[in-house]
């Protein structure tokens, strides 16, 4: 079980959190005309890297804040966690 440092609450075990996917994905702006391909990339396509990955986690059984985690997907090493408006 991973130990994740919530930027608001501190270190907690993984079972307090839920995973929220790739942190680099940006939702297209509302009302903007975009192609099927762009939209599909946003909805369906994700990188699946072995190694460093920046991702979103939700402290669902804690402060209920979403935040960013830089994690190695192979070793599970967590390099850094950050609030959404901070750099990873």
């Amino acid at each position: 079980m991973l130990e994740i440092k919530c930027p608001y609450c501190g270190k907690r075990s993984q079972n307090e959190f839920s995973y929220g996917g790739d942190a680099k994905i940006k939702r297209p702006e509302l009302g903007k005309e975009i192609s099927d391909k762009e939209w599909d990339n946003f909805v369906y396509y994700r990188d699946n890297p072995k190694g460093k990955h920046s991702e979103l986690w939700h402290h669902i059984s804690g402060c209920r804040q979403w935040f960013k985690v830089s994690r190695d997907t192979a070793s599970h090493e967590i390099f850094k966690t950050a609030k959404l408006d901070e750099d990873l």
Binding site: E3, I34, D36
Partner: protein, 999 residues
């Protein structure tokens, strides 16, 4: 029978406390402090079980967790049974009952032993090769027979009566293993201020100090260990645990340990948990798990009486038990000489058979000076004795050790075997440490640490006491210094030990010409040298493949004594060195763990929380039959007399249509939304428009996921300019909140909106039926409840006999209806008032079943239609899609599959005979009698008995449903064996224009 193999003055057992127990129906005696194994050996019992495949008689090999053979079935007082208990770990308690496994009718006469005579027909891969054909035999003949033969003990049939607990702990340094290195590191770390947990799997602390003739400082090893333990126990920053196996090393230094807390206690209280599972997050982990002796491989090396030399010594020195009185010590190294010396000191004359030419170590010289007979450059070639070893064939090697020059038979009653030591690297390997092969000791040891893991002592291949102590004190200080920043150094005591020479790199004894003795590598799974040779011959080169093909190391002992011998063999055959062959993966758990310990207290109703509305007790008193709705318990119907579900729910639903009913809707998700941008946010979240919703009005809304699929629906009411009250379905309440938080925090942080769950803050009651307005007027005398006073979808705040209340005019039943919310604590007050004042209007409570009936015949969608596969238009909700604004998921609706005019559509279905209920989940097909696969046009999502028309009615999602109204199809349910001719009609069966709700 008296304990004829028990020594008088040796060991740490309590001879004042005699304990009786039963093994295979026979009564024996042992002492407090014995294991089942040591007590049986004290009584001269070696035969404990039969092997898995050949049903060969087997005895004890080890004295601890490495034991491959002595798996017994335990029978508990008043409770059930436990299979596969390790007799070497089971502590003796008064009245213990144990039996041998895998034998019938008894361990000394076992019918299955015929497999041994037929062993030529059971080579490696036997099952894969034999049961391939004919294919049709698998289900009826092969599988049942194999299933009957497989497994060791008998699984219990009753629920586990014991309690198990989980405990969470944090520490600076966790030390696994209490041998010399573990004790010294724990002491050094604790004295330097670190929070330490010291875990020992066995009952007694000390590891090798319990048996080795050493001194530390000026004390004997055992005395030193006892002193350190009492010192550690007195320190407030240290937790010392015996009977505690650290079995798993997980991510981020999460260590899991199982503590045995009950089975050794004579009269435990009913509250004593049987085992405790500890989850320990340790900043640093010290692995001082020691090493396990490796057996040697020779002809018929599996007979009862053939035991590891270290185990024989442990039985002697810890339990005061001789494993035999005519011992042969068979070794390729010096450590077994200690066992010979201990036999000699207890008045028994052993014979040492050593594969080496000579040895000049201090321990070998001690044996020589004691006049112990030593046969150098010799091997045990073969053994005899069916149920108990009675003789051994000793051979003098020829010059290249490929055969023997001379064979002689020697009578004996035990052979104590030693093939040198294998470090217990399991935890180190689990932590991610890629092991390396050490050629000096011919075993794998830890390499570079991946996590904060530190392996010391013989677990990393340092076999001398001096090194272990030095390493322990050093690591304990270093790690604690890193954490606490303190500098309190403990002095490493001086020590005295014997010196041991180099082992012989020779483990597998050759067979004499024309002899085909079985030489076992893995005892529990009956894997012999010939099986491994065959596997390699057949092309299984990878060690992982050899393992799976031969089942080497796959038994309950996970190959603790056999893995390295197997590797050595493969590397010998392949003419490769072991590092090239590699090793199989070490996975947790290190030893078998009970399911009970893993589950802990999360059993039965405690598996997950149960949520109850504040009105729950009233429902119970009024004969409610409950149903699980997510975590909630909701009344399904209120039983009157002998009514069944259909009768009761029909009565309740009819009463709603005719008079008035009340339903507990507390479980509906409620989310409080505040902030200047709340309306804008709702506008993005829902598919319809929200900017112009007036204060005091609610609106029905549908949410999509970004992929366009319908996510949830509900009504949201504008309480004030910047304050909204959102409702969600019971099932999706938590997911909707997370969804909103995601968009507010991650996607649109610029919006000034806050959301919070208010589900448990409000109790809700729905009043539905033509009399509901009249009843509302009696409940709230101060407000105008007329159609103009509270319009359809209107909202008002008032007080219910002094209790603040919210009134929503919303309807899920299609009838004139209201929903009243009060603070949860007043829920029961509200409910009783409603029942009291509604009496004269014939009010009846209704449950979820009537609720479903009412919504189904109205054509309202719910969870059974919003199943994660449909888009708005499938549910005829396309009118809810705003064309003017963008919203979550809108762009997906323009994808090709979603604009197809022949997409699925929600429809109504009635059986032609107007009698037969259509099972939910039935498929709609053109031809009810077509052969399979019968093309599916749609499926029935929800069924009810329409109280309006008094016949069955269902909702279905049907391909091109829009154009199929009026068609005749079949509803087939192979599960219920039904084939029903049906007619497709509109999904709005009752009041299609929605006049009643607005009246």
């Amino acid at each position: 029978m008296s304990q004829t193999y028990r020594l008088n003055n040796v060991g740490y057992i309590n001879r004042d406390k005699k304990i009786s127990f039963k093994f295979n129906g026979k009564k024996y005696f042992g002492y407090k402090g014995d294991t089942l194994a040591s007590a049986l050996l004290a009584n001269g019992v070696h035969l404990v079980g039969r092997s898995f495949k050949y049903h060969r008689p087997r005895g004890f090999v080890g004295a601890g967790v490495d034991e491959p053979n002595a798996k017994v079935q335990l029978y508990f007082k008043g409770a059930d049974t436990e299979p596969n208990a390790n007799a070497t770990e089971v502590e003796l308690v008064e009245g213990l009952i144990a039996r041998s496994q895998n034998c019938w009718p008894s361990v000394s006469f076992d019918f299955g032993a015929i497999n041994n005579l037929l062993n030529k027909f059971f080579p490696a891969g036997f099952y894969y090769k034999t049961f391939m054909w004919p294919k049709s035999f698998w289900y009826k003949i092969y599988e049942p027979i194999i299933r009957k033969a497989a497994g060791l003990g008998i699984a219990p049939l009753k629920p586990d009566p014991d309690k198990y607990e989980h405990k969470y702990e944090y520490c600076d340094v966790l030390v696994a293993g209490s041998g010399p290195s573990g004790l010294s590191s724990a002491l050094a770390a604790a004295k330097n201020g670190a929070r330490v947990i010291l875990a020992e799997d066995k009952v007694r602390f000390g590891g090798s100090l319990l048996t080795d003739e050493v001194t530390i400082g000026n004390k004997k090893g055992k005395e030193w260990a006892d002193e350190i333990i009492s010192q550690l126990k007195s320190m407030p920053n240290v937790i010392v645990k015996n009977r505690s196996q650290v079995f798993g090393y997980y991510d981020h230094n999460m260590m899991v340990m199982c503590e045995r807390t009950k089975d050794h206690i004579e009269n435990p209280s009913e509250f004593t948990p049987r085992q405790k599972l500890w989850h320990i997050r340790a900043k640093e982990v010290i692995i001082s798990t020691g090493s396990i002796e490796r057996p040697l491989t020779f002809g018929n090396n599996d007979r009862p009486g053939i035991i590891l030399a270290s185990a024989a010594r442990e039985y002697m020195k810890v339990y005061g038990v001789l494993v035999g009185k005519k011992p042969i010590i068979f070794t390729n190294n010096d450590s077994a000489y200690d066992t010979a010396i201990d036999f000699k000191k207890n008045g028994i004359d052993p014979i040492i058979v050593d594969t080496r030419n000579d040895s000049q170590s201090s321990v070998a010289n001690e044996a020589k000076s004691l006049n112990i007979s030593i046969k150098f450059f010799c091997a045990v070639v073969n053994t005899k004795g069916y149920l108990r070893l009675n003789s051994a064939t000793i051979g003098k090697f020829n010059s290249d050790k490929s055969d023997y020059e001379k064979l002689e038979n020697i009578s004996c009653d035990c052979i104590c075997v030693s093939g040198n030591w294998t470090p217990t690297v399991h935890l180190s390997s689990q932590s991610g440490n890629k092991l390396k092969f050490n050629e000096t000791i011919d075993a794998f040891i830890p390499n570079q640490s991946k996590q904060n893991e530190n392996t010391i002592g013989s677990a990393k291949g340092s076999f001398t006491l001096k090194e272990s102590l030095e390493d322990g004190f050093k690591k304990g200080f270093e790690l604690s210094n890193k954490i606490t920043g303190k500098n309190e150094k403990s002095i490493t005591p001086t020590s005295n030990e014997k010196n041991y020479g180099q082992h012989d790199k020779f483990w597998c004894m050759p067979l004499p010409k024309k002899k085909h003795y079985k030489r076992f590598v893995d005892f529990q799974n009956d894997v012999a040298v010939s099986d491994i040779e065959l596997a390699v011959r057949e092309g299984f080169k990878s060690i992982e493949h050899v393992k799976r093909y031969t089942t080497l190391g796959m038994a309950t002992d996970q190959g603790k004594t056999s893995n390295l011998s197997g590797l050595q063999l493969v590397s010998d055959i392949e003419k490769k060195i072991i590092p090239e062959v590699g090793h199989t993966t070490f996975r947790p758990p290190y030893t078998p763990i009970t399911i009970g310990a893993i589950v802990g207290r999360e059993v039965g109703k405690h598996y997950r929380p149960t949520r109850k509305s504040p009105i729950h007790e009233w429902h119970e008193k009024n004969n409610a039959v409950f149903v699980d709705a997510g975590l909630w318990l909701r009344p399904r119907y209120y039983k009157k007399g002998n009514e069944n579900l259909l009768e009761a729910s029909t009565r309740e639903a009819r009463n709603v249509r005719k008079n008035v009913g009340v339903c507990d809707v507390t479980s509906l998700g409620k989310i409080d939304i505040k902030g200047a941008d709340s309306a804008e946010f709702l506008n993005r979240v829902y598919t319809n428009a929200w900017m112009k919703l007036p204060i005091g009005k609610g609106r029905y809304g549908v949410m999509l996921r970004e992929d366009g699929i319908v996510f949830d629906d509900g009504t949201t009411t504008r309480i004030s300019e910047n304050h909204f009250h959102m409702t969600t379905t019971t099932a999706q309440a938590a997911n909707v909140l997370s969804h909103l938080e995601y968009y507010l925090q991650v996607v649109w942080p610029e919006l000034d909106v806050n959301v919070v769950s208010a589900t448990e803050q409000w109790a809700g009651a729905a009043l539905a039926g033509p009399n509901s307005r009249k009843l509302l007027g009696k409940l709230f005398k101060n407000i105008d409840v007329s159609n103009e006073g509270i319009q359809f979808m209107g909202y008002k705040e008032s007080d219910l006999f002094g209790v603040p209340a919210r009134i929503f005019r919303i309807s899920f039943s299609g009838e004139l209806a209201y929903e009243i919310n009060v603070e949860s604590d007043y829920g029961i007050f509200m409910w009783k008032k409603i029942i009291e004042l509604g009496k004269e209007m014939n009010i009846e409570p209704y449950g979820t079943e009537a609720l479903s009936t009412l919504r189904i015949e109205m054509g309202h969608v719910a969870g059974s239609e919003i199943d994660g596969r449909v888009i708005s238009s499938d549910l005829s909700l396309e009118g809810m899609l705003s064309k003017k604004k963008d919203f979550i998921g809108k762009r997906s609706l323009f994808r090709e599959a979603f604009v197809n005019p022949n997409r699925e559509k929600i429809v109504g279905v009635i059986p032609i005979d107007k009698k037969t209920m259509i099972p939910e989940g039935s498929h709609l097909v053109n031809d009810g009698n077509a052969t399979l696969p019968n093309p599916k046009l749609g499926h029935v999502s929800a069924s009810c008995w329409s109280v309006e028309y008094n016949n069955p009615f269902s909702l279905a999602i049907l391909k091109d449903g829009k154009n199929k109204i009026g068609e005749k199809l079949y509803a087939v349910s192979p599960l219920k064996n039904k084939n029903i001719p049906v007619e497709i009609i509109s999904s709005h069966y009752v009041d299609p224009k929605g006049e009643r709700v607005r009246s």
